[in-house]
């Protein structure tokens, strides 16, 4: 088959000195679905941004349909027939579907005004041509995310894209929407288009891709036919060694309930009921897993538990003491810590030193300050201990956080939070986007904390992680508890699925609380 795209020896170094692509080469055959997989930070997105002209490579060549091309901007890429659908969609939310479709190529009336009717016609025409249904006159902001994504795909097709790049398209979709998207992609392939599909979800890759390119540490490890590889093979190539999905042993003793949530509801600014009468307990010596498709209220629940968001109704108690209405600091002082979902936004201040990050929750306490004065010597000593104990790769306590890798940054966050010796640990996606070594370490630390009698609440989008660590699991769907599994050893990801999708639901679970 003809190669539609070929990139050779691409080198990309970001301004902070991070090497994102190191002599990366990839060849994509025409009329295939080509998956690019790798862990977060492996360099997949950077490579695509270079191909689409958003980033410029320092070295390397790109050939499109056999000809060498210089793509300096997305405009260049679109002109030669490359389209890209970004992870975070790039549509104007206040414009209609039709207006977004023609943006930059507007049909005009009297050479000045947008011809809205014509734009609508164009949209319908393109939409029919490719069999992708979209409502031309609806505003983007009123559409569900799956439909918005469809608009982006259509927009690229309308600009005559022959090669379509989709950057982690399924990360924002529900499983049903993913199904629809995959059907669309297969259809497009039938019509002669080529698709590059970025993902780190192995089952999706197996399901849809013809060819697979695996990236790790800014390099391409291998490119093979998807049929030659099992999910396990891909996983191994992605992380560079064998990985275990083995579950940790169940706790020996279970203690009393430390964190107790009753009838918790939350209505957001847009008057949407995000959480609906949730009740559950987290006991000493257990890990309670919260499973669910992203966007079903997990983020809000975690922020409410940690005092960063105020609930509309309900009770939260820690050892029987009320937490609602308390400031984040008071809640932390009562013995709760928080490994946040977004470590760069909440977990660290990138441009400050490690020691300044370590003392965030304790700088005002004895041992770190005396009166108003910070005791920098003691703080440095404390930081050195944490760096050693948590095996953080850093030159000194004065190293800037921004100089560390994702895994090490997460270790900084985990080190700070766990070293505050909390009773309750709220961990949100604690291993998202970090290397396997760091992931194993975080898992081990959580297990150790559990065995020391801590109560751990684990929210994660990664079902393997949930099943590996949890003692019990609750499933959240649409802000409600859809199911509750007392014994994790007997269930698989497949058992959770129907509850996560809202297909099935335990009756009266939300009201009932198991002790």
């Amino acid at each position: 088959m003809e190669k539609i795209l070929e990139a050779k020896d691409v080198l990309k170094v970001y301004e902070n000195g991070v090497i994102a692509n190191r002599a990366v080469s990839i060849a994509v055959e025409e009329n295939t679905i080509h998956a690019v997989v790798g862990e977060n930070g492996a360099g997949k997105t950077t490579l695509m941004k270079i191909i689409f002209g958003i980033e410029q490579a320092q070295d390397g060549e790109i050939f499109f349909k056999g000809e060498k091309v210089h793509i300096r901007s997305p405009r260049d890429a679109i002109r030669i027939g490359i389209g890209m659908v970004h992870q975070h969609l790039m549509l104007a939310p206040d414009l209609t579907v039709a207006e977004n479709m023609v943006l930059g190529n507007e049909p005009l009336r009297a050479k000045l005004f947008l011809d809205t009717d014509r734009a609508g016609e164009i949209t319908l025409q393109v939409s029919e041509e490719y069999g992708l249904q979209v409502p031309p006159n609806k505003k983007i902001k009123d559409l569900p995310i799956g439909v918005r994504q469809r608009v982006e795909i259509l927009k690229a097709l309308f600009r005559n894209a022959e090669l379509l790049i989709l950057d982690e398209p399924t990360s924002v979709l529900t499983p049903q929407e993913t199904e629809v998207l995959f059907k669309t992609l297969k259809n497009l392939k039938k019509q002669g288009k080529t698709i590059i599909f970025i993902s780190h979800k192995l089952n999706e890759v197996k399901q849809i891709a013809d060819r697979v390119t695996i990236m790790r540490d800014a390099r391409v490890i291998d490119t093979r036919d998807a049929s030659e590889l099992t999910e396990h093979d891909i996983a191994q190539l992605m992380v560079g060694r064998d990985i275990s999905f083995e579950r940790i042993p169940a706790p020996v003793t279970l203690g009393e309930s430390l964190l107790s949530v009753r009838n918790l509801s939350y209505v957001n600014d847009e008057a949407i009921l995000v959480l609906n009468k949730m009740s559950f307990d987290v006991r000493s010596g257990e890990i309670l897993g919260l499973a669910g498709v992203v966007g079903n209220g997990q983020t809000e629940l975690v922020r409410i538990l940690t005092g960063l968001l105020q609930p509309s109704e309900g009770e939260i108690t820690l050892r029987g003491e009320n937490l609602i209405g308390l400031s984040p600091r008071r809640i932390r002082e009562k013995g709760l810590c928080h490994i946040p979902e977004d470590r760069m936004e909440d977990g660290v201040a990138e441009e400050t030193t490690l020691e300044e990050n370590f003392i965030l929750d304790r700088y005002y306490k004895p041992g770190f300050s005396k009166g108003l004065r910070l005791l920098w010597k003691d703080i440095s000593q404390h930081s050195r201990e944490l760096i050693e104990k948590f095996n953080i790769l850093a030159q000194s306590t004065k190293t800037l956080v921004s100089a560390l890798s994702g895994g090490n940054i997460q270790k900084v966050v985990v080190a700070r939070e766990l070293s505050s010796d909390p009773d309750v640990i709220i961990a949100a996606h604690p291993t998202r986007g970090i290397d396997v070594g760091s992931e194993e370490m975080v898992h081990r630390l959580l297990q150790e904390a559990r065995d020391r009698g801590k109560a751990i609440f684990l929210a994660s989008a990664d079902l393997d992680e949930i099943l590996k660590l949890s003692t019990r699991v609750i499933v959240i769907y649409n802000g409600e508890i859809a199911a509750h599994f007392q014994d994790v050893s007997k269930i698989t990801a497949g058992d959770l699925g129907p509850y996560m999708l809202g297909v099935q639901r335990e009756e009266a679970v939300s009201g009932k609380v198991s002790a």
Binding site: L11, V13, E15, N16, G17, V18, I19, R22, Q58, L308, S327, P328, R329, R330, I331, R332, H338, P340, E345, D346, G347, V348, A349, E350, E351, T352, E356, I359, L360, D361, Y363, Y364, S369, L372, R373, L374, W376
Partner: protein
């Protein structure tokens, strides 16, 4: 070598910027002056050539240091309050009013007048602070607008209630001697204000880098969500840093009144608050760097004045030259491509090893 360049990049950039600025100034002076050699000497060396000009350098630097420190405290919390000018003006006006209407021994009078001026400035700056903390009103806009209000309030206070009708100018009554800051170098106007400025630079440095409140301010500035996440009261930080800003600016303005003019004679706003922003940017909001930055700006100002007095270079061109140099230094992106290329080379080398 390249590692060295990366480490001291900021310093090297400032030096190169000054160099380029001087080259452009030389060019402009040659273009506009009949006697370029003499003019250039006036501009670059002028400030050092006589005792009075040298003294002038110190006198000018002093209020700029105060305002630079004031702005720096707010900038460190990423609060873009530019109200130093208003706080300075109103604080000094109220301080003057208090000084001329009271009578007490100098050892109480001096600190009390300074304190009253500082507190006035702090109170004034509290307004944009509370507006931001409570209702998220942009402190940039509110502090800018309040500068006008402060100016006219101060002007009203002095011109209608404390004006010295016998002076022949629109100025306040002379301060009683008990409220003067002494001049400690004979035949100059260098007064204790400069000592206070240096002391405050150290104090503000200590405050920002060695106290819990300073940590809260800086953490909020680096990442507000991070600060909130860790339990820091961002509300408190926003108000605190702006109150400190107002206090420092007004305190600095008052030292100028008490040490140099000994009466309130600013019919137009003196502009030190704006100079404070410039030195805060040049000094990267670091209190100890603000001192040399302020002396540099003072040197530019004095050099400009000498050039204007002694040579045939038009006053407008003097301002153009000053502005170009300041612009070059404050331009963040200047030479960043160069730094980037070094970073890339370093990374490649590191990657190969």
């Amino acid at each position: 070598m390249e590692k060295f360049l990366l480490k001291y990049f900021t310093l090297i950039r400032v030096i190169i910027a000054i160099g380029i600025g001087i080259v452009i100034s030389v060019f402009l002076i040659y273009l506009t002056s009949q006697e370029p050699g003499f003019s250039l000497r006036s501009f670059l060396l002028g400030p050092f050539l006589t005792r009075s000009r040298l003294a002038h350098l110190f006198e000018t630097a002093s209020p700029i240091i105060f305002c630079g420190l004031a702005i720096a405290v707010a900038f460190q919390a990423k609060q873009f309050n530019i109200g130093a000018e208003g706080s300075l003006y109103l604080g000094a006006a109220v301080g003057t009013a208090f000084a001329v209407s009271t009578n007490m021994p100098a050892f109480i009078h001096v600190p009390l007048v300074l304190l009253i001026a500082g507190l006035t400035g702090a109170l004034w700056s509290f307004i944009p602070g509370i507006l931001k903390a409570k209702w998220k009103a942009s402190e940039l806009v509110s502090s800018l607008m309040l500068n006008y209000v402060a100016y006219f309030l101060g002007l009203y206070l002095i011109n209608y209630h404390f004006r010295d009708k016998e002076a022949g100018f629109l100025v306040s009554f002379k301060l009683p001697e008990t409220a003067w800051l002494a001049r400690f170098i004979p035949d100059t106007r260098i007064h204790y204000g400069i000592i206070l400025a240096l002391v405050f630079a150290v104090l503000v440095y200590y405050f920002l880098y060695h106290t819990t409140a300073g940590y809260e301010i800086r953490s909020t500035g680096f990442n507000e969500r991070f600060a909130r996440f860790g339990g820091i009261s961002v509300f408190k930080v926003i108000i605190l840093c702006q109150v400190i800003l107002g206090f420092l600016a007004a305190f600095g303005g008052m030292t100028e009144v008490m040490g140099i003019h000994r009466r309130f004679l600013w019919q137009s706003s003196p502009g030190y608050g704006w100079d404070g922003i410039i030195v805060a940017i040049i000094g990267r909001s670091h209190p100890l760097l603000i001192v040399p930055a302020s002396f540099f700006l003072a040197y530019m100002r004095v050099g400009g004045r000498v050039l204007n007095l002694m040579s045939d270079v038009p006053a407008e061109m003097v301002m153009v030259i000053q502005s170009i140099i300041i612009l070059l230094i404050t331009a963040e992106a200047f030479l960043s491509q160069w730094k980037y290329r070094i970073t890339v080379r370093q990374a490649e080398r590191g990657g190969a090893a």
